[in-house]
């Protein structure tokens, strides 16, 4: 999975139209970002990258770029 595919997966989780995320969005400003989106991102990271994002870690994440940084080493070019 490359960065664009990750953003597309994120769009699916957030139920956004395809290619609407640019990567610099603030999560709290996305209308669809809520507690269920939280749970979904954690499940997605676990399933796709075998990464356990701990809940406390996720509280530090403010933007889509922070999410990308978290999984970056697992993304292909």
């Amino acid at each position: 999975m490359n960065k664009q595919e990750f953003l597309n997966s994120l769009e699916e989780v957030l139920e956004l139209d395809e290619n609407t995320l640019k990567g610099d969005e603030i999560l709290m400003k996305i209308e669809q970002w809520d507690s269920l989106a939280f749970l979904s991102v954690i499940a997605m990271a676990d399933e796709n990258f075998d990464i356990v994002i701990e809940g406390s870690q996720l509280e530090e994440i403010k933007s889509v770029a922070d999410l990308v940084a978290l999984v970056e080493e697992h993304l292909s070019a």
Binding site: V13, L39, G55
Partner: protein
Amino acid sequence: MINNPLDFSGKRVLITGASSGIGRACSILLSELGAKLVLNGRNLDSLKSTMSLLEGNGHVLAPFDMADTNGLCDWVKTLTKEYGYLDSFVHCAGIQITKPIRMFEKGFFDDTMHVNLASAMAISQGFRIKRDRSKQGSIVFVASIAGLIGQTGNTVYGASKAGLMSLTRGLSMELLRDNIRVNCVAPALVETDMAVRTKQSMTDAQYQHILNQHPMGVGEPKDVANAVAFLLSDAAKWINSVPLPVEGGYLAN
């Protein structure tokens, strides 16, 4: 000697999910009560760790993957051929993955249902065929309060555990002629590896909300093992088809 209805001496019990958590606690307690155990799990090293904690001897290890639904009945038949008839069966094996509906897909559904639910049916199928019907047999499934209440992101797990409760009712009637009782326990949150993973899958505030719903705090694996041992034993010989909540007052809250 005083008759002890919780005495499991001379009884052979199959325990699935014995490598950790509630399954491990059930294994330890039942061995202390005199049972000879057949320990099942996926991870051989973890099963050996459970084995090292048991009282008595004559226990055996029987790793097998609960996801292999079609192989389970024959696996149980092989066990009875190798180790003798089973008197009881405790089904602790289970998986839980927190996934809101937007993440729903067939593979996730199938995995959860096969490991948590279909395996219970398939093992019961093998257990029923190969046993000494002159003795009362007993089965206890480890369900969950998730099968009784609604929990966000835990719907499929809850459905599998509600399914186990339904299986309990159906099999308790179907297996009357086989002299087998079928009951289940429904624990709330218990301090296990599964609980650690649940904690990791949510924010601290979300986990604290769950903790706040437990009036007596979260349970210990042994709290559930005590209830399982009771339902499995002759002390419960006239108790059938019961879903016993083991939840420190969770449901009264």
